[in-house]
């Protein structure tokens, strides 16, 4: 029979909508509004998983985010799978499939449970002790076995098909948690004109009002909550969100919240994001996150059927589910009496076991008047039942509670435990609030706020409804008044609630003599009282050390139900008070967050922007193979037939040397410089002289950092007296602009200079090769393109069939070459004209690979040489260091290491066999077969197949390179398993005198 534990008319589920789902291969039914946990419990299923270390059978402990045991693997429609979902948070939808984790072959017969019998071998710190020797065993034997046995579900293998979105929001007051204090503060703030966001983690608003028998005004608690929510939802200045977990409190009141937007919807559209990550900058934050019940500790307190009293009550009152029909309520305080009373009202006879002598609170007296059997000064000592609890041993304490006078066995199917309440102070602590210990409630509460954090209600240890409402209305008004300046006060309604007495500080039940039952503190990580005792005995005194040694609180539940018990144990053993022991750090996220939510839409090609030149489409149509150059996509080579990279780039480079080639150089950084002091500024930025550069001429320049290291290079052209056009490398364009802005704004604000990036304003094409002048003449009929008309490094403005264009006679390839710039929108027009008119001169486009080949064999440096470690002389650029003026970084060049005559120098390298390509990154060494570490003399920075000489050629940065020309060394690359005999030659392999560029 299905749902035998379901009550007929209690709860907020929709009994008209029956839902089928599968758990561990078996089909069950639940209702809309159920969680996976409540639906399983309605079917009498408590056994949901196996524990991490001992593989002990485990059941539900909580009903929300605090759940340590019920971690399941989910299988979604269409999607892959998700591990470690909390069954207590998973909303039931038609067709849901879930499985238990950490068990094989099944949850009821688990092979790993043998660990439980061997538990003597698994004490605290067992990883450190057992698996250390022999060391070589770790990788091959221990780790794989441990990983297999200690599984936390299966990671999905396919890419996540879901969409996740990010949202940025600002508000006056963010309220986290919609219990009585949260609702009243949100209402008071909103009514006083503040922009409010109210966030509730659960599906239903109301917090404790969903289960507590209270009245507010003349309404039942739940009705009041519903009314406030609909009131807030109707206000334009309020955002109300359920299924939204505020999980992190970051700097400057940045709150991060994860909203679940899809998994609960039966038929989501393909555009529905699965989750939304909200970044909320709040002027004030109200933390009304409530409190979590903590368990009591006793022998075998981890069997399926042993559950928190508050969770049992939530299952009963929200979902109409009985967690058992023969319940024991085991408590050290009054709140669990409510659970007993609710059982009784639903026709079930509970037994209360209370560690205290008596209680005279109204709730206790109500239980007495209902004739509920109460055993005072008693404890649950031990339990029995392997896959499901079936009996408990109840003990009558001796006078000092160190042992028991009498033991009796009582048959039962669930034990609802309560060890009092722990305020949920995580967000408060994350905000920088140093918590303080409150003796009355035996828990930490917030102390002094560091940011605009305001904790209210039971999250700060005020457990009465009256206090929560008063506090909420007061804080909501105060904070909104501070922000809006308005004075509209809401009236705090009257309320009625039961009264609750003082709890017993006693929470860890002693073991009867000669009994060694396991008493668990941290269920998810299998940390027992004995483990913590052992850790302290072995000298781990700091709570942070105890945590790491025992793994207490380090599982996915982050010890929400166990941290405080662990602390209390350490303080008891050490005979210290808890404030001296301190607490471990609360770090975000409060609950596990999917990687998808954190990443949002920044996946695949949206990971970062892609920059394309205006000529990109032409490249695509002409079989370009692209390469990433920073954010830019540049053609690496244009593939013809079955050519490979080397064949294509060699063909393209040869054509440049023989005829003419054209290269898209749009991505090159361009900076427009204007102002009366522009020449003076360049003079300070570059190492060479700039004051006398004539209008219509360009110059090659190198800039240094203040520490003397080469920063970037490029050509800068004087367009008019006070107007310069600077080019930078593609990679450093943004950094050079920031660098210039720094000096102009911070260091020399007196200079009259303005700089602005013009990279995207201009499309660029480089024409290179002996035929380039002839082609230029066809493109620009109105100007003199002769060697005298446009001299080397000259600059001209003209029009390209009506399109204004800039012509620079600069060369990166070592050939006669020009660079044409037109406004970006005309880039494709320019390019097509070049190709069209160049046809008769055998023009071919060339990509970055041919570009590299051409510059390498010329000995022209680029990013692979300017690598942040070299100074000008290392690159043979010392001739460009002006002696007459100061410039950025000059003073550093007089440092001892920089004037060493045997410093590194750029050289050329060719393999002796003239055949073997030398891998980039190879080390140059004296002896290729020496034992490691083989002293390194230098490294190969760039390699190409020289089209001029038809053999490999490389550039290298070599120690004392200028005195090593002609020497035979070895280029070794252990990564590529290469050991190549090489000869050191000049870095200027082709046209060393530079005649071609000037021809």
């Amino acid at each position: 029979m299905s749902q035998t534990y379901r009550l007929n008319n209690v709860g907020y589920i929709n009994r008209d909508k029956k839902i089928s789902f599968k758990f561990n291969g078996k089909k069950y039914f639940g209702y809309k509004g159920d969680t996976l946990a409540s639906a399983l419990l309605a079917n009498g299923v408590h056994l949901v998983g196996r524990s991490f270390k001992y593989h002990r059978p485990r059941g539900f402990v909580g009903a929300g985010v605090d759940e340590p045991n019920a971690k399941v693997q989910l299988y979604f429609k269409g999607a892959d799978t998700e591990p470690n979902a909390n069954a207590t948070e998973v909303e039931l939808v038609e067709g849901l499939i879930a499985r238990s984790q950490n068990c094989w072959p099944s949850v009821s017969f688990d092979f790993g449970a043998i660990n439980n019998l061997l538990n003597k071998f698994f004490p605290a710190g067992f990883y450190y002790k057992t698996f250390m020797w022999p060391k070589s065993f770790w990788y091959k034997i221990y780790e794989p076995i441990i990983r297999k046995a200690a599984g936390l579900g299966i990671a999905p293998l396919k890419p996540d098909p879901d969409k996740y979105e990010h949202k940025y929001e600002y508000c006056d007051v963010l309220v986290a948690g919609s219990g009585p204090s949260g609702l009243s503060s949100a209402l008071a703030a909103a009514k006083n004109g503040a922009r409010v966001i109210l966030a509730e983690d659960k599906v239903r608003f109301g917090g404790s009002l969903l289960t507590d028998e209270v009245t507010i005004g003349n309404k039942k608690g739940k009705e009041w909550a519903d009314e406030i929510i609909s009131q807030l939802k109707s206000m334009p200045n309020v955002i109300v969100k359920n299924r939204s977990q505020v999980f992190g409190y970051y700097d400057h009141n940045m709150m991060v919240m994860c909203e679940r937007t899809k998994d609960h919807i039966e038929n989501p559209s393909e555009f529905t994001p699965r989750q939304k990550l909200w970044h909320i900058r709040a002027k004030e934050v109200i933390i009304s996150t409530g409190s979590i019940e903590r368990p009591l500790t006793f022998g075998n307190n981890d069997r399926p059927g042993i559950i928190l009293a508050s969770a049992a009550r939530e299952y009963m009152k929200v979902y109409g589910v009985l967690v058992g029909k023969k319940p024991i309520i085991f408590t050290n305080n009054d709140s669990a009496y409510d659970t007993a009373i609710d059982f009784k009202k639903n026709g079930i006879d509970p037994i209360i076991v209370d560690t205290r002598n008596d209680s005279q609170s109204s709730v206790a007296n109500e239980a007495k008047s209902l004739n509920i059997s109460i055993k005072f000064f008693c404890a649950v000592v031990n339990t029995k039942g392997y896959l499901r609890l079936n009996s408990a041993t109840i003990g009558k304490f001796n006078s000092d509670k160190s042992d028991y006078e009498k033991l009796e066995n009582i048959s039962c199917d669930c034990i609802c435990v309560s060890g009092n309440w722990t305020p949920t102070v995580h967000l408060s602590s994350q905000s920088g609030n140093k918590l303080k210990f409150n003796e009355t409630i035996d828990a930490f509460i917030p102390n002094q706020s560091k940011q605009n954090e305001n904790t209210i209600g039971s999250a700060k240890g005020s457990f009465t409804l009256k206090e929560s409402l008063e506090d909420g209305f007061k804080k909501g008004f105060e904070l909104s008044n501070k922000i809006t300046g308005k004075n509209e006060k809401s009236i705090t309604p009257t309320s009625n609630e039961k009264n609750y007495g003082q709890h017993d500080k006693f929470w860890c039940m002693p073991l009867p003599k000669k009994k060694h039952y396991k008493r668990f503190v941290d269920f998810q990580n299998d940390v027992a009282v004995s483990d913590i005792e052992l850790a302290v005995r072995e000298g781990f005194k700091s709570i942070e050390h105890v945590k790491r040694y025992t793994t207490l609180g380090m599982a996915t539940d982050q010890g929400k139900t166990s941290n405080l018990s662990g602390l209390q144990l350490v303080s008891d053993i050490e005979k210290k008070i808890i404030p001296e022991v301190g607490h471990t750090t609360f770090r975000p996220p409060y609950t596990p967050i999917t990687i998808g939510a954190i990443v949002g839409r920044e996946v695949g090609k949206h990971y970062r922007p892609t920059r394309k030149s205006p000529i990109h489409e032409w490249h695509e149509k002409n079989n370009a193979v692209f390469v990433d150059a920073g954010l830019w996509l540049r053609p690496r080579y244009y593939k013809k037939g079955n050519e490979n990279l080397l064949e294509a780039s060699t063909r393209e480079a040869r054509n440049v040397r023989k005829n003419v080639g054209v290269c898209d150089v749009t991505s090159l950084g361009k900076i427009d410089i204007k102002g009366a002091d522009s020449a003076e500024f360049l003079n300070r930025v570059y190492t060479n002289a700039w004051m006398k550069l004539p209008i219509g001429k360009g110059r090659y320049g190198v800039m240094l950092r203040e520490d003397g290291i080469v920063f970037d290079d490029g050509t800068t052209t004087r367009i008019s007296e006070n107007h310069f056009h600077m080019t930078t490398t593609t990679a450093q364009a943004a950094n050079v602009l920031s660098h210039l802005e720094y000096y102009l704004q911070v260091v020399w604000p007196e200079l009259d200079v303005n700089v602005v990036s013009a990279t995207e304003q201009w499309a660029g094409a480089a024409l290179a090769g002996p035929n380039s002048r002839k082609l230029l003449g066809k493109l620009f009929k109105n100007i003199d393109v002769s060697n005298e008309g446009i001299q080397f490094m000259g600059y001209k403005e003209s029009d390209l069939f009506g399109v204004p264009a800039r012509i620079f006679r600069i060369s990166f390839s070592g050939e006669l070459a020009y660079e044409i710039n037109v406004e970006s929108d005309y880039g494709i027009f320019m390019w097509k004209k070049i190709i069209e008119l160049g046809k008769e001169m055998n023009i071919e486009p060339y990509g970055t690979e041919a570009l590299s080949t051409l510059r390498i064999e010329m000995g022209h440096v680029a990013g692979s040489e300017i690598d942040g470690r070299v100074i000008s002389s290392d690159l043979s650029l010392e001739g460009m260091l002006s002696k007459k003026k100061d410039f950025i970084g000059k003073r550093s060049l007089f440092r001892e290491a920089f004037v060493n005559p045997n410093r590194e120098k750029i050289v050329g390298v060719i393999p002796i066999d003239k055949k073997t390509m030398i891998p980039e990154g190879s080390h140059l060494v004296n002896d290729g077969n020496a034992t490691l570490p083989n002293p390194k003399l230098g490294h190969v920075s760039a390699s190409c197949w020289s089209v001029e000489y038809n053999n490999p050629f490389s550039l290298a940065i070599l120690k004392d390179g200028k005195n090593k020309i002609g020497e035979k060394l070895y280029a070794v690359s252990p990564l590529k398993n290469k050991n190549i005999p090489v000869e050191i030659i000049s870095s200027h392999y082709v046209d060393p005198k530079g005649e071609r560029v000037r021809s």
Partner: protein, 88 residues
């Protein structure tokens, strides 16, 4: 994520800015003869205080202005921001 008030644009999130180091460092004058020690102090040596620190920030994804920030390096509290020619 910090919230930084650009003196030109107003409050913006930290991801619009880049950090630019100690605001109190003054570059030696161009062409001035100085000792190795003075130069090294300028290029390499920086205080690393726990607490109040005046620093430069650059609004790179905004107005592209450099400005000064007085910030607590431990708590991240920002006491004041100012234009370069203003006092912190």
């Amino acid at each position: 994520m910090l919230e930084i008030k650009c003196p030109y644009c107003g409050k913006r999130s930290q991801n619009e800015f880049s950090y630019g180091g100690d605001a109190k460092i003054k570059r030696p004058e161009l062409g001035k003869e100085i000792s190795d020690k003075e130069w090294d102090n300028f290029v390499y040596y920086r205080d690393n205080p726990k607490g109040k620190h005046s620093e430069l920030w650059h609004h790179i994804s905004g107005c592209r202005q450099w400005f000064k920030v007085s910030r607590d390096t431990a708590s991240h509290e920002i006491f004041k921001t100012a234009k370069l020619d203003e006092d912190l």
